[in-house]
Amino acid sequence: MTSLDSLEEGAQARLMAVDGLPALRRRLMEMGLLPGTPLRLIRRMSLGGVVELEVRRSRVSIGHGEAAQLLVAPL
């Protein structure tokens, strides 16, 4: 298991755990980032401080801070 932040661009993975303070964690899960969800890392933008994902048929960008709270198992 590794943090989402350290995935390669284009890599597929399954979300295993969501860490972080209760309110942040709850918000991420409510947006569909739940343990068990498959995802793909589309791009990492170091300047913007953002990671773009494909999850549940849609694309979302999340901050590096949030990405660090998501633990994934590469597929």
């Binding site: 209760p22 309110a23 942040l24 964690r25 709850r26 918000r27 991420l28 899960m29 409510e30 947006m31 569909g32 739940l34 343990p35 589309i42 791009r43 933008m45 170091s46 300047l47 913007g48 401080g49 953002v50 773009e52 494909e54 549940r56 048929r57 849609s58 694309r59 979302v60 960008s61 999340i62 901050g63 801070g65 949030e66």
Partner: protein, 730 residues
């Protein structure tokens, strides 16, 4: 009257649907007890029934962490004092269906009849998906209306669905509710449910369960919600603590339960046609490229800024000439008199004072509409997030902040692209410190006044102008940072931005949005500006001094007679100049005795420590109408006439030779600098305050803005002037 509430995730076309249902005739009010804007409209349905339509804040979930977020639940569930809605129309982005369905499930749980407006079905092609509305309708058990809200497709079907559901609410209330299966969780829900105020659930068991789940996901120790009874707070916090002690994860149990339901249905509703968003992926490879993405964004912003800054100029000039032409026509048709003066200088100039903002407002909203409609705005937030977040601002605050260099008024309106009120207010409060174009003539005059009139402005003057830009920008960023740590702290919101597929802009809806914003400005902020202009007219035109007027007439008459019979052109010209000088002299004397002039005198003790005399005081008072008015007021006060600009030699000479009663020069370089600092920071703009009033919904925010900016201006000018004196400058 039946109530229909419009709910939905952010950026799903919620306000478009609202505007189309109400025909754009909405009343803007505040939620009870809290100054968050809400729109209320009325519409007449086919068959003649009148319904009330309420907008609700866009949200991914009803669960709330702050009083602001709590409004979504209050509006959708109809918690007292809001009415329980007969229908909740939920706008849903068809390309992001599963996340959008999370909110739909929560609202269905509440037992409110639901109609799903399945919006943006025209983007499915680009997203590589196919959605079957019948399958969605079957799974949810509520009406689903496929729509393309921005061009009105599906609107009539939505209206007929509303009529059908009003006739028979059971059509929009599925027999099922999503319910947790775990007996321990059910017991906890009952315990929390028993602690809920009866007024919230009215003893409806389904509603009680739904609100209990809401409370479990919303109430944390130290929460920011309002109106939560102590009993309920204890039940939730104790219940959560007990569950955690047993190693259970309540958040996951509840959220996973809903998503498991969605996941079990979604494959029958959505089909993947090909790998999603190939075009989008290719475009993003360029537009989100770590280097090229920034360069292109900055290039685009330069273009927008250029358009606002210079492109609007000819149109603004045209409006100004039209206003003065109308003023002249009205003036000569009515003949001189107090009423004419009021009509020309109070009303017509006042209308001109706000119409002049329209070109920039329309241009800015045209660009913003284009960026939002094509899906580029989401990328802007991503590109700028880290930079903006380091000073406490939202990624989307970049466009408004940049527009502030042109004019704060359209820029403040542009803060609407941000969903959260805290982000909007923060941007609004810091933005007027950006060096707007109205400061330019003032800086120009003062920079020119530093050097003797017989000298040309040189390199140092250019550097000074650039420094003023830098100073304003830095102050805006510092103020934003300080406010984000204090007054507008706000809870941390995780950065999760949806990336919609790119699509071609829909021109009619871009234009419609632009016109709506323009009209909105004219109607609300425009009225305030007009009233302020009339107030400024009173200050500058009263009290009348009959002796002064009589003297002017007496001295002018012989000159006019002489000019009428003068034989040579030179002679005529010379006499005309003497008349103009006489009139300017009289206007100067008049202004000194007007209320504004007296106000300038009255504030002299206050501004003397900054190095300003009462004439500058008059300028500061009159510049409240708009900063650039300072220049023409200086022209009037110094008897040069009001048609001056920063290059006018007469005015520069008068400023150069102006002295205090003891013979010291007034406009020393240090005073000019102190005055520029004052203009950089002071809130010398009634239109900005008017538009902040409009956008924040009350007078508290503009009042705070005026106070903090004026205080900041005074303190900085004081430090510059007194510090400069101590260091031996003059």
């Amino acid at each position: 009257m039946p109530t229909i509430v419009i709910a939905g995730n952010p950026n799903t076309g919620k306000s478009t649907v609202f505007n189309q249902l109400t025909g754009g005739r909405a009343r803007i009010g505040n939620y009870p007890g809290i100054t968050v804007e809400r729109s209320i409209g009325k519409t007449q349905l086919p068959g003649g029934r009148l319904v009330q339509v309420l907008d609700s804040p866009g949200t991914y979930s009803l669960a709330a962490r702050s009083a602001d977020e709590q409004l979504a639940l209050e509006a959708v569930a109809g918690l007292p004092p809001l009415p329980i809605p007969q229908i909740a129309v939920i706008t849903v982005d068809a390309t992001q269906l599963s996340r959008n369905l999370y909110l739909v499930l929560q609202i269905i749980e509440l037992g409110v009849p639901v109609i799903v407006a399945l919006n943006m079905i025209d983007s499915l092609e680009a997203a590589g998906q196919e959605v079957r509305p019948e399958a969605l309708e079957k799974a949810l058990g509520v009406p689903v209306v496929p729509m393309v809200a921005r061009d009105g497709r599906g609107l009539s079907r939505l209206v007929s669905a509303i009529v059908e559901v009003l006739d028979d609410p059971s059509r929009a209330k599925p027999g099922w509710r999503w319910r947790p299966g775990n007996p321990q969780l059910i017991a906890l829900m009952e315990r929390v449910g028993a602690a809920l105020p009866e007024a919230w659930h009215g003893n409806d068991p389904d509603r009680r369960s739904a609100l209990a789940l809401w409370a479990l996901l919303s109430i944390d120790p130290g929460h920011d919600l309002h109106g939560i009874p102590g009993e309920l707070e204890r039940a939730v916090i104790d219940g959560r603590a007990e569950a955690t002690a047993k190693g259970r994860d309540l958040d996951h149990e509840i959220i996973h339960g809903r998503y498991a339901w969605i996941d079990s249905k979604i494959d029958r509703i959505v089909r993947d046609k090909r790998h999603p968003t190939e075009l989008t992926e290719r475009v993003d490879r360029i537009l989100l490229h770590p280097a090229m993405g920034f360069v292109l964004f900055l290039a685009l912003m330069t273009l927008v800024f250029q358009a606002l800054f210079t492109g609007a100029d000819p149109i603004i000039g045209l409006i100004e000439s039209a206003v003065s032409w109308i003023g002249n026509v009205v003036g000569s048709a009515l003949g001189p008199g107090l009423f004419t003066d009021f009509l020309v200088n109070g009303v017509i100039e006042g209308v001109g004072a706000f119409v002049v903002f329209l070109p920039q407002i329309l241009m800015l909203f045209f660009f913003i509409g284009l960026m939002e409609d094509t899906g580029y705005m989401a990328r802007v937030a991503v590109l700028m997030d880290r930079l903006m977040k380091s000073i406490g601002l939202h990624g989307r605050a970049f466009v408004p902040m940049l527009s502030g260099y042109a004019c704060a008024v359209p820029a403040i309106m542009a803060t609407r692209t941000m969903e959260r009120r805290r982000d909007r207010l923060l941007t609004m409060m810091a933005l007027p410190l950006m060096t707007c174009s109205a400061r330019l003539p003032v800086y120009g005059l003062l920079i020119a006044a530093i050097v003797p009139p017989w000298q040309e402005a040189g390199f140092v003057q250019g550097l000074l102008m650039a420094s003023m830009y830098l100073f304003g920008t830095l102050m805006a960023l510092i103020v934003a940072w300080v406010m984000s740590k204090t007054l507008l702290r706000g809870s941390y919101i995780p950065l999760v931005i949806e990336m919609p597929p790119y699509r071609m802009p829909h021109w009619p809806s871009v234009v419609r949005m632009m016109l709506r914003r323009g009209w909105d400005f004219m109607k609300t902020a425009g009225t305030i500006i007009l009233i302020c202009s009339m107030g400024m007219w009173v200050l500058l035109s009263f009290p009348k001094d009959p002796a002064l007027e009589a003297r002017l007439l007496e001295q002018r008459a012989p000159l006019e007679q002489a000019a009428a019979v003068a034989r040579s052109g030179d002679e005529k010209q010379r006499l005309k100049e003497r008349i103009a000088a006489l009139e300017a002299q009289s206007a100067s004397e008049f202004t000194r005795h007007s209320y504004a002039g007296r106000l300038g005198h009255a504030i002299e003790p206050l501004i003397e420590p900054l190095g300003f005399d009462w004439k500058i005081g008059v300028g500061i008072v009159s510049a409240f109408a708009a900063r650039e008015v300072f220049v023409s007021t200086m022209g009037v006060v110094f008897g040069v006439g009001e048609d001056v600009d920063e290059e006018t030699m007469d005015l520069r000479e008068k400023l150069w030779s102006d002295t205090w009663p003891d013979g010291r020069r007034v406009f020393t370089p240090l005073v000019c600098l102190s005055l520029m600092i004052f203009f950089a920071l002071a809130c010398q703009c009634m239109s900005t305050l008017a538009v902040v009033r409009r956008e924040s919904g009350n007078w508290g925010w503009p009042a705070l803005m005026f106070v903090y900016m004026t205080a900041l201006a005074w303190v900085f000018s004081f430090l510059v002037y007194q510090g400069g004196l101590l260091l031996g400058f003059s």
